[in-house]
Amino acid sequence: MVDSPEVLVIGGGSTGCGIARDLAMRGLGVTLVEKGNLTNGTTGRMHGLLHSGGRYAVSDQASAKECIEENRVLRDIASHCVEMTDGLFVQRPEDSDEYFEEKLQGCRECDIPVTVLSAEEARTKEPALAGDVERAISVPDGAIDPFRLCVANAVSAEQHGARIETHAEVTDVLLEDGAVVGCEVRHDSGSGKRVHRTPGTTEEIRADYVVNATGAWAGQIGELAGVDIEVRPSKGAMVIMNVRQVDTVINRCRPKGDADIIVPHETTAILGTTDEEVDDPEEYPEERWEVDMMIEELSKLVPILRESRTIRSFWGVRPLYEPPGTGTTDPTDITRDFFLLDHEERDGLAGMTSIVGGKFTTYRMMAERIADHVCEQFGITADCRTADEPLPGSEDFEVLQDHMEAFGLRSPIGRRSTQRLGSRAEEVLTTDDPNPVVCECEAVTRAEIQDAIDQSGTDLNAVRIRTRASMGNCQGGLCCHRMANELHPEHEEPTVRTALDELYQERWKGQRHALWGEQLSQAMLNHVLHGTTMNRDRDPARHETVNFDAFDAGAPDSGRREEPDGD
């Protein structure tokens, strides 16, 4: 036994970051490695629903009870990531009364507060609902930003002494005497805050215990360690609408099915989803019919969706797991429960536990269980404090409203910035320097971008998930380059250019599934702006050395009124 055990957590999703925070708060040494950005896997590819448990109240009451419990905890500890929108289970004429009653009964059994609304009451609450809906059940569903939540967990873990390494892929699991003693990781571009184009290094990270929190990728880590983990990744498609058609979570009140939920998410609405088993969590088809079906089906609940603009679509893979021998064929029937696989008990391999299954809303509870389990291995009795201590940004949230206009920002910009930053708003937004808006769609200012760069280095996708910059209707067409510009002068031109290309490509990826109507016009305008106006498709500076010092700094005072006269 060691006094202060070192734990290596693999996976920078909500579960991994939650585990890192929990263990670090209990005084253990923690290193977290993630092969991409934080939220790179499933966490960053979900619909952002904070479950009330209502969705599982009929089929899986154990999960439903956990959901409502954690729903209450997260409202408290992660208030700056949560928007309590409420949710409705909406019954259409073709949906059965019997199921409606079962849902109602199930919610009551699970202690989920419910109210039955008449069609008219439901439409008063949510005017966009179809004229022919029958009635609805109101539940305390909410919207949650998985990016900010995950980042806040990582930041908190760091504050408690943890080391967080992104872009650090596990290339091998180190075994000694039949036990796991650490991992070998390859840093994509150097250890620590990411800098582009610096040569990568390989590092052996030794640990007293390893936690495999890689979700749908758990089988791949298992393979490196020589154990079998039968995750059954199941893909789900999600469509992002340009504006919020609804301000309430809208669920279809019928037994499990595709395309039955609309979640208001920040400035957008997300339509979900499908459920189809795939072989590989990274290689699977993303098909147009999935998007079409989603819009078609959900228009029955909210008709305006049919003619509304979608800005992108994305697919995520659920890390579903069932114990060997269960033999479920339909992925929608596989339990949403989570499993803690102690490889010592299970496979005779000491020093490592995997956590699989589960869902985002209960990430903290999962982290608590696994942290308990790790502590048990070392005879540590420290209590879990993650349900009581607010995350960075969620402290003293009530004072926030008073501060909204204090940063010299126009009111909707100040409001959105404060909604995102929570109790960190003052620290981030107070500045003596000019603080222009960098991303107009999402109202993100330079100060917030700079704060994110301080956290994550030159990776602009990491800046994006922290700020939402480039996630609005132009999908970065008008702000990617401004974001990249914020990296200068600290970073040189080639680094800035690579960072820009990487962000721009990532933004394009999701838009490919939304290329009709307005988003097609948008994509064309973006293309012309970047290709023609900025000459980014054949910029000579890409291949030749440009003497940037030869350019002057512009007019000494670029104020419009000071410009000299001249035709």
């Binding site: 005017p127 340009n242 126009r410 132009c474």
Partner: protein, 441 residues
Amino acid sequence: MTKDSETDHDHTDHTTDRTDRVATAEATVPPSSERTTDLRPGADNCYKCTACDTSCPVAEVDDEFPGPKFQGPEQWRLKRSEDTDIDESITSCSNCMRCDSACPSGVPLSQMHNTARGEYVEGMSKLSREYVRNRILANYGRLARIGSRVPRLTNFVMSNRVTKWFNERLLGIASEREFPAFATQTFGEWYEERGGPQIESEDRRIAYFHGDYSNFNTPEVAKALVRVFEAFGYEVVVPEQRCSGTPMFANGMLEDARRAAEFNVDTLSALVEEGYDVVCSCTSCSMALRQEYPELFDFEGTEQVAAHTYEALEYLRLHEDLDGALSESEVDGEHPELAYHAPCHARNQGLHRQALELFRELDGVAIEDVGDSCSGISGTYGWKSEKYDYSMEIAEEMFEHMEDADGTTGLTECPTCAMQMEHGTGYEIDHPLEVIEKAVV
């Protein structure tokens, strides 16, 4: 006293209407009576090309003004249902509506601005100097009704330096501006005196929406309309009417606008039923009836009135051979070049070329286009002390082009553009209808 009882009465009407609307709309449209209009879906049309910002005359001169894209689609898109705050800068939008024409993608910019401004003003202190000033400016018509009873006295008082000093200091109304003089006989009085319509016709009949300004200040324009239409064989009726609402929209006084609009729609839709088309001599009035009413209100008959409203020259060009009539006419006497300015609201209705096209063929008249800039006054905008300098800066280009024209007479359809043109150049400003009157009557 009078005002209070009127408000109560209007309030009752308003409630009744709302209930009706919910009841009739239930089948297809979700009732949204509890919330303000949700214009977020309008942001779907915006792909941020920024054409609106580059066309905005205020953004060009006022560095503090963030421009129509921010005021419209961006601000709306950032809204959650419980968010009620609107940025103060919305009060700097002059409601020229040039952004509407500039947008290649159909974003309902002015509707977004008008609605947001209404919400902002709702939250304003009703005792603030700005609110009181804006309410007075927006309700010019009500004051005109009183002032024009004793026109000579009012004109004397309003042009008095003491009054101007008082207005500037106490209310923030630019003392540089000359209050327009009230006519000694209003158009309404004249029309009454002559015994109403001189022609009765089953198939050529219009209801004239003259607006307040040509009633109280420039009755010669209104008379010209009556005479020109009668010359073409039209029955011209003049229904009782209130302000079109234009200055109220521009100042976010949506409740005042609602009351006025409801009265107008009620009166005019009854006439439309009887086969009258509505004709305006002011391009902002026709704009309000055609576009702003349906965008902001839904009284019974609103759409119908909108579909039957025309600007005077536009109507005659559509239904009569005005071009032919003018090309066969001539205007006697000396008529140096007219410096024509197309009002922004005429531009929005596609009417900015009509005076140029018509008068080019008219013997005895020469016309010079003074360019496509905004006149800068935008109704009440240029009357506000803090906006006066911007207003004049916007107008600079127009003034220059006017000076370049040969004559010293200007021409425009809009009464406040006319004020600005006169203010900046000292020219006399005519309405195209007055020129047509000379030619065809």
